[in-house]
Symmetry: C2
Subunit: 352 residues, 2 copies
């Protein structure tokens, strides 16, 4: 279907944060998808300006993002941190661009649709210039659970995450690798980035598990946990849904995993019903065969746009309770791929 749109001459696309971990995946995804681009504007912070980036074999020089950078831009993919989005997204919109923002800056803004195309593509129609891309850990969960909600109703989600360091950026990946090597070599090391670069204390991540992602809120939950809770309700358009999250950072480079318990409305549903549903669900790959030890793992999901689901079990006490294990590449479906999907949907729905 997408390929059919290639007759168009293409769009003027800007990528803000083009040198970052997600920005790089956005460019790779735009290239892989053969997104119709007539002009490409690559932007970054002052610090990264001047760097060179290859796109479809051509060298592009990355420029420092400024209000006037967005003249003529039709779709601007932002992934350079919340402060950049807050400063420049409206400047881009004022100049006629539609902004797809991958930061948390506007996600809970009532005037901003928060979109996972498999779940609520229709919300794009209500956009006012800015569209928010949800948090990585939220996206993969709602892709897997929305088909279940539609078929059987859904009233409760309890999720514990197993999140990769690449969600904290390229420096966090480097920290994990250098720490792992130091520990194997029995050398000293000083944690400097994880769990949160801007927080007070930093802890060992290699061969460890840190139950903090993003800063703490006053209610004792972390901001990451509150993102999962609030964004899930907004994307599913279902305020009454009970959602609870515990978010944990692991010594994994890329690929978020989630242990999810749900309660659905229909207690007659079987594991086979859920499997049949997810086998056909958009963006989902079912990997669930205990006899063959088939289940999703982050190392297998890296590089794929899909959301993998396995370990589906009916709760032993509650007939309407189910357990699932959900894995996806946090840089792709969790970020770059979902943003590019939103851009594709904008084109498909003739909103750009």
């Amino acid at each position: 279907m997408w390929k059919e749109l290639l007759y168009m001459s293409g769009y003027h696309i800007a990528v803000v944060g083009a040198t970052g971990a997600v920005g790089q995946q956005m460019l790779k995804t735009l290239e892989d998808e053969n997104f119709p681009i007539s002009q490409l504007t690559l932007l970054s912070s002052e610090r990264s300006a001047g760097k060179k980036v290859i796109f479809k074999g051509e060298e592009h020089v990355v420029k420092a993002a400024a209000p006037q950078s967005f003249e003529g831009v039709q779709i601007a993919l932002f992934s350079a941190g919340g402060s950049v989005s807050k400063e420049l997204a409206s400047e881009a919109v004022n100049r006629g661009a539609i902004v797809v923002d991958n930061t948390s800056a506007f996600r809970m803004d009532k005037n901003v649709p928060l979109v996972v195309p498999e779940v609520n593509e229709h919300a794009l129609k209500e956009h006012n210039g800015i569209i928010a891309n949800p948090n990585c850990s939220t996206i993969q969960m709602v892709v897997a659970l929305e088909p279940v909600r539609k078929a059987f109703g859904l009233n409760k989600i309890i999720v514990s995450t197993y999140q990769a360091v690449s969600g904290a950026g390229a420096a966090a990946i480097e920290e994990l690798k250098s720490q792992a090597r130091a520990i194997l070599d029995e050398k000293e090391f000083t944690p400097e980035i994880l769990p949160v670069g801007s927080d007070k204390k930093h802890y060992q991540i290699a061969f460890n598990a840190i139950p903090q992602i993003d800063k703490f809120e006053e209610n004792g939950f972390t901001f990451e946990e509150m993102k999962m809770i609030n964004e899930t309700k907004k994307i599913m358009e279902y305020d009454e849904l009970h959602v609870a999250a515990t978010c944990v950072r692991l010594p994994v480079v890329t690929g978020h995993s989630e242990s999810v318990y749900i309660e659905i409305d229909n207690g007659d549903a079987t594991v086979e019903d859920i499997r049949a549903l997810l086998k056909e669900a958009p963006g989902v790959v079912l990997q669930d065969n205990p006899e063959e030890q088939l289940y999703p793992m982050p190392a297998d999901a890296v590089g794929s746009n899909d959301v993998y689901v396995g370990r589906i079990r009916k709760d032993l006490d509650r007939p309407n309770g189910f357990h699932l294990w959900i894995v996806s590449d946090n840089l792709l479906k969790g970020a770059a791929w979902n943003s590019v999907q939103i851009a594709q949907s904008l084109v498909k729905l003739q909103l750009v």
Copy 2:
């Protein structure tokens, strides 16, 4: 209190599996605790027989375990695998020993007490020669939750685990380390042990997460998950308790973590109530101060006998729902220390 018992001349103790990861920790714990030992018999499989082990500065030669090895033994600590326990535990009992068995061989046997001294020390009085030491991931959870159950009632537990490879033995530790090094050096490697040495397929553990610990049961849960479910009910003497578990192996050497959701009977209980309770609970160390980024982590728990609890939050939807993060050294409280504690309790209760 324990020190007061040192006036006794001591007991003839056997350690079966003395050269293994847990056996070594048992010996260290017996030494650290200054357990009153008049004679020490160190036993192993044929394969490890002849190895030398130092205990309190003295060299002991490990012998191949046989029925007659248990002549005169008063307490035999078994940790050499289920098949060794099944073969030799009754031989030891027939010769007058009390067996403290760290395998899963007898845990669900109705005639065998399954004991965590902080929770159900009294069950030791019903022993018929064999006492079972619970599964590592079960022990730390019940130590943290029993005080909550006693004070506020408990009707539901949903746990997702983050388990270290040392639970799968010394070879699994070696596999994690050599794999991590191979990946950092961009070299090839072949998984041979994890998730389960005797299962069909083996997967990468370094920089990955494997949602399988022990083999799969027919109901889609793994044996490890069923251990947590069934053992928790038995130790808490509470068959009606709803328990569900998802067990995941991580690239962590030692230290199991657990993300636990509970529903208690008393919806008026506050986070401060739970904290106050756990601050005074036997075997528990409260590490819960979000403002100071204080929470338990496996890297910090290694080498300690305690169970660490933090990230205590009231569920945002259910007033009787709480979330906790529980961490402990799986080789100590999860195995060696709990076994030695049982031996101490046997002495204290004059059962030996």
